[in-house]
């Protein structure tokens, strides 16, 4: 990842012991309580690097050990979500490291100041929520058996027989069920997004993370309309009773809504 120019290479010490870990960009008029709760071992102390109207949330990181333990991942998101509860923030993808706070200011904040400020203004008063739906196994499989006669026949065929003796039938059965569940996921994801969209500023359909996922959405919600959004979700929950278990995560930093590249 590090491809410093020749000049930059000469300008810094040969073996840098620490660097600056970057969490995200936020408005400069934020007061931060410095805390020992960043990524790294021991956890780095958080700080703000300001330039004009924008600031970078950073912490010092020792370079002598690898990054990415579970507590590092949780610290990264925990810090950003806490900040996002109070002010707009542009979250960085996990693993952004620069040479120094000065480099963050000069190389990142100065050249992209106006772009960051505009993006932060758009995110003012909004937060991300993640909605995950998981099928209730028995319920969805019964639906499939009712709708797919071949699956029901294969089920009768393998019943009570050892796996080795029914290998082909099992594969075929699993294939049918998998295809049917995928089709249900597409329909249910669309239905959920449709039901939530009047109460959301934007919605991103995420990839499923499990074969029995019913839906996986990231939703950008105006904080003033959060209750309305949650009511709509609860209505979906009631409609899907006994069929899908829904989880609501958030409010979070808008991870799914900042993937644009500098224009």
């Amino acid at each position: 990842m590090a491809r410093p120019t020749h000049a930059a290479e000469e300008a810094r010490p040969a073996a840098q012991a620490t660097a600056t870990y970057l969490y995200g960009i936020l408005p400069a008029d934020v007061e931060l309580t410095p805390e020992e709760r960043g990524v790294g071992d021991p956890p780095g102390r958080t700080a703000l690097v300001r330039h004009g109207d924008v600031a970078a949330l950073v912490s010092e990181l020792r370079l002598d050990r690898p990054l990415g333990r579970p507590q590092d991942l949780v610290a990264h998101q925990g810090l950003l979500d806490d900040v996002a509860a109070e002010v707009p923030v542009l979250p960085m993808r996990f693993g952004a490291v620069m040479e120094s706070p000065e480099a963050v200011a000069e190389q990142l904040l100065v050249p992209h100041h106006d772009e960051f400020r505009a993006a932060l203004e758009e995110l003012e008063g909004r937060a991300q929520f993640v909605v995950k739906g998981r099928y209730v196994e028995g319920a969805v499989l019964r639906e499939v058996l009712r709708e797919e006669p071949e699956a029901a026949a294969l089920r009768d065929q393998i019943k009570g027989l050892p796996e080795e003796a029914t290998w082909d039938a099992r594969i075929r059965l699993g294939e049918i069920v998998n295809r049917a569940v995928e089709a249900k996921r597409d329909a249910d994801t669309g239905a959920l997004a449709e039901a939530l969209s009047p109460h959301a500023a934007a919605i991103v359909v995420r990839e499923p993370t499990h074969e029995q996922d019913a839906a996986h959405l990231a939703v950008l919600v105006d904080t003033a309309r959060q209750e309305e959004f949650e009511d709509a979700l609860e209505e979906c929950a009631d409609r899907w009773a006994d069929r899908v278990t829904l989880r609501l995560l958030g409010p979070q930093a808008p991870y799914d809504f900042v993937t644009g590249r500098p224009g």
Binding site: E211, E230, R243, G250, A253, T259
Partner: protein, 136 residues
Amino acid sequence: MTIVQPSGGGAAARPQGGGGSLADVIDTILDKGLVIDAYVSVALVGIELLTINARVVVASVDTYLRFAQAVNRLDLSEGSKGLPELMQDMTQGVARSKTKGAAQGALEAAGEKLRELIGEPDEEPVRRRRRGREEA
């Protein structure tokens, strides 16, 4: 359907904040968010990242066998609830395009909607730590 809270204490569907389990965190911060390389070409520091298994759902023979096993152990006699008709209503007329989730366009679209829909969020119970900043 049940809404499971990441941490207890709220009314149903009232989230308690946070990123949820480690799996949820992995889904969120490893391939989403701003990519530093898109903004900076010098003064980056390469660090060793511990290998984290990206959990991608790919239909495989294992998936098929798991589904077959699940069907095989299903007891059809117990509570055979039908697909609620409500679901059909809900599913009808779904326009994928409305939610196609082009992340790059989402922010712009969101900006338009903000101007249309949101007033001054003066009910917002959030503790503000900011120094005299006007609402944008």
